[in-house]
């Protein structure tokens, strides 16, 4: 069968199946198990209403548990076993093996750099863009254009930036704009930016900053608009300059939003895989955890160490997870 037809059939089965499930299960509940008639009508309605939420929730909960909750436990288990030894329990052997690999520490070091640089720069640029575009007439158009990279895949972005970083031998016309500008400004030899140890990681980070700035800008712009005007007016009356207004009046009032933006981008950074995979594949000391994990899982087929690396990512995500859950619970009260 042609995959496109298969897709249509799947939509029909998936959507029809879901709607059918909800409709039928409700009908069975209302008419067969606890019919709203006879001597126990009132009691039956109450009972049915106690069960109904779970009917509505069941498919979602089932999928969530199977696709997200179970894998966390299973990955933890896999990280403590050895696939070659028929899944025997090996304690922390995978972790110690991972810790002894230079590539792992390179990935850790790079990830830490990513964790500092990308959220900081994206938030800073986003804040700058939000503040500037809010004050001009064509601000919405400017916002759209800065926001646009958000729609581009990491792989597409990798191609786009590889062209920017392209290097041709000295003496010929450069086709990568970075080298063209670099030679025009300094007159030096062209550089192969992606193989330049240490700095090449920053050239990869630039790609993610480019993508995430739009996100930061959109959120922060909404927050900036939510600032009560009186506070700004009062500051102006007191003789504050634009810089003071921005840093002493506006930024403190949107601190919590800045935190949300920062943590959201942090999560993206922790999972960053496509950019590194497509641009350098971790060569020239640009390895990051997610790509290291992919390497272990699917190239070396070492599920134990791969799972251990995945657990390291989970461990780094954990503080944000706890923070989010606590915030959500506070709001519910």
């Amino acid at each position: 069968m042609h995959p496109a037809i298969l897709g249509l059939v799947t939509i029909a089965i998936g959507v029809g199946g879901c709607v059918g499930y909800f409709y039928l299960s409700n009908m069975v509940l209302d008419h067969v198990i606890f019919p709203a008639r006879g001597p126990n009508a009132g009691k039956n309605i109450n009972r049915a209403n106690q069960i109904r939420p779970w009917l509505f929730l069941f498919p979602a909960l089932f999928a969530l548990c199977l696709y997200l909750a179970y894998p966390v436990v299973e990955t933890l288990r896999l990280s403590l076993t050895d696939r070659d030894a028929d899944g025997a329990f090996v304690g922390l052997a995978n972790y110690t093996q991972m810790m002894s690999e230079a590539k792992f520490w390179e990935a850790m070091r790079n990830n830490m750099l990513w964790l500092i640089v990308v959220p900081a720069l994206s938030t800073a640029f986003g804040l700058l863009a939000a503040q500037l575009t809010d004050r001009i007439r064509w601000g919405n158009l400017a916002k759209s254009l800065i926001f646009m990279p958000m729609a581009i895949s990491f792989v597409g972005a990798a191609v786009i930036w590889k062209l920017v970083y392209d290097a041709r031998p000295a003496g010929t016309d450069q086709i990568g704009i970075l080298n063209a500008v670099y030679i025009w400004m300094t007159g030096a030899e062209p550089q192969t930016w992606l193989t330049l140890p240490f700095w090449n990681s920053f050239f990869l980070m630039a790609v993610l900053v480019w993508i995430q700035t739009g996100f930061a800008m959109v959120i922060l712009s909404a927050a900036l608009r939510g600032i009560p005007e009186e506070t700004v007016e009062a500051a102006i009356v007191d003789g504050a300059g634009p810089m003071q207004i921005f840093f002493k009046i506006k930024v403190p009032q949107i601190k919590s939003t800045i935190m949300v933006v920062w943590t959201t981008i942090t999560l993206v950074v922790l999972k960053v895989f496509d950019i590194v995979f497509a641009m350098t594949n971790g060569q020239w000391e640009t390895q990051v955890l997610a790509n290291y994990m992919y390497d272990k899982l699917f190239r070396s087929n070492d599920w134990g160490v791969g799972s251990a690396a995945a657990m390291v990512i989970m461990l780094l995500v954990l503080p944000i997870l706890i923070w989010n859950v606590r915030n959500a619970r506070q709001e519910m009260r």
Binding site: L66, A151, L163
Partner: protein, 381 residues
């Protein structure tokens, strides 16, 4: 609000220029790739894309027509022709040997080894004259340095999209991506909408705990799910394929879907729902007839997120979809492969990337409003 202090005009041009610079900086990389996708391989490799609108100078090697086309004019044997198919190019210098490609200026005459005389004009017209019949099989080589006017072509798109047997083809990958994306966008919406309604408007013990559970799952890296789920899919017979990819995308998309939809549904007016309950509507009816239509903005927000995410995804496709035959490869994976095999062929890469970027960009510009709304609902509260 800046007007009241009266310093608007003094600052506004600084702001305008800064924004122009910022936007230019952000657009530049994408524009570069877009322009490159409309240029030929020669153009891309000889000059930067920012020169695309200016005439470019190229060194080209062309063969004149062969001796079989010679005609006799009086005592002379003559071969005549035009070096360029299209007009507009202008030759500055030319040569007849690869060691001296700039030996002659346009309009000058060179003596060839066999005694013939070759004249090349600036517009590409040439004439070879000889007193005797010209022998040999192949035409004379001519090296020209020519300035060609800017030129754009759709050939790259034609090559990648419509020439199906071509090894670089993106056509099948495009269909494949579409096949993954659409069910993976629609199914989680349906599943999540019911759950979100239950979490927003039904009272039952453990509701708060469930919401916290979903908020927690929101940030679980999908990297953790790869091996356990692949093992699961292989053991229950789904294997690698569309079904596995749809299920995986559905599972990974659900937390955000439920979270966004629940936050939106909670904000719907209580009166409407309670009136409907009093009037005897069942929960199912309330959901289908009242909640779903009212939640359209939130549904659209999530649909865009999920669409962009599944369309742009590489990891899930690599792990759950693409088997060893490569029949179901998606565009992102195709591009990564091209980066490996055609690393220097920018016309192929640029075009492939743009084929895959075009659809999300269109969706982005058409539905930006909902995307922004969804982002705000998802992260600021």
């Amino acid at each position: 609000m800046e007007n009241i202090a009266g310093h608007k005009s003094s600052l506004s041009w600084v702001v305008n220029i800064s924004v122009v610079l910022l936007v230019a900086l952000w657009m530049l990389p994408t524009v570069g790739l877009l322009v490159s996708s409309f240029r030929t391989a020669d153009q891309i490799s000889t000059s930067g894309w920012w020169r695309a609108l200016a005439p470019s100078e190229q060194n080209i090697k062309i063969r004149a027509n062969g001796p079989d086309t010679q005609v006799q004019q009086g005592d002379l044997f003559v071969i005549e022709g035009q070096l360029f198919d299209e007009t507009g190019a202008e030759i500055s210098v030319w040569g007849i040997s690869s060691r001296a490609i700039d030996a002659f200026a346009a309009g000058e005459t060179a003596e060839l080894k066999n005694g013939a005389r070759l004249t090349v004009q600036a517009d590409g017209a040439y004439r070879i004259e000889h007193n005797e019949e010209i022998t040999g099989k192949r035409g004379q080589r001519i090296f020209v340095t020519a300035t060609t006017p800017p030129e754009f072509t759709f050939d790259n798109y034609d090559l990648l999209l419509f020439q199906g047997d071509n090894t670089d083809s993106m056509g099948r990958a495009f269909i494949s991506t579409l096949t993954v994306t659409i069910p993976a966008t629609i199914i989680p919406i349906v599943v999540a909408a019911f759950a979100a309604y239950a979490l927003a408007w039904m009272d039952f013990p453990g509701r708060a705990l469930l919401i916290a559970f979903i908020v927690g799952l929101l940030v679980v890296p999908l990297q953790l799910a790869l091996i356990p789920l692949l093992k699961l899919h292989l053991s229950i017979g789904i294997g690698k394929g569309y079904l596995g990819a749809w299920l995986a995308h559905t599972g990974f998309g659900l937390p955000l879907a439920i979270y966004l939809l629940r936050n939106y549904m909670v904000g719907l007016p209580r009166d409407i729902i309670e009136n409907a309950r009093v009037d005897g509507a069942t929960e199912f009816q309330i959901f289908v007839k009242i909640i779903l239509p009212l939640s359209f903005p939130a549904l659209a927000s999530f649909a865009i997120f999920q669409f962009l995410w599944t369309w742009n995804d590489l990891l899930v496709a690599k792990v759950f979809l693409i088997d060893s035959t490569g029949q179901t490869t998606v565009m992102t994976n195709r591009i990564v492969e091209l980066l490996g095999t055609r690393g220097g062929n920018w016309e192929i890469l640029a075009t492939a990337a743009f084929v895959s970027i075009a659809v999300p960009l269109a969706v982005f510009f058409a539905m930006q409003k909902y995307l922004v709304r969804g982002l705000l609902a998802g992260s600021v509260k």
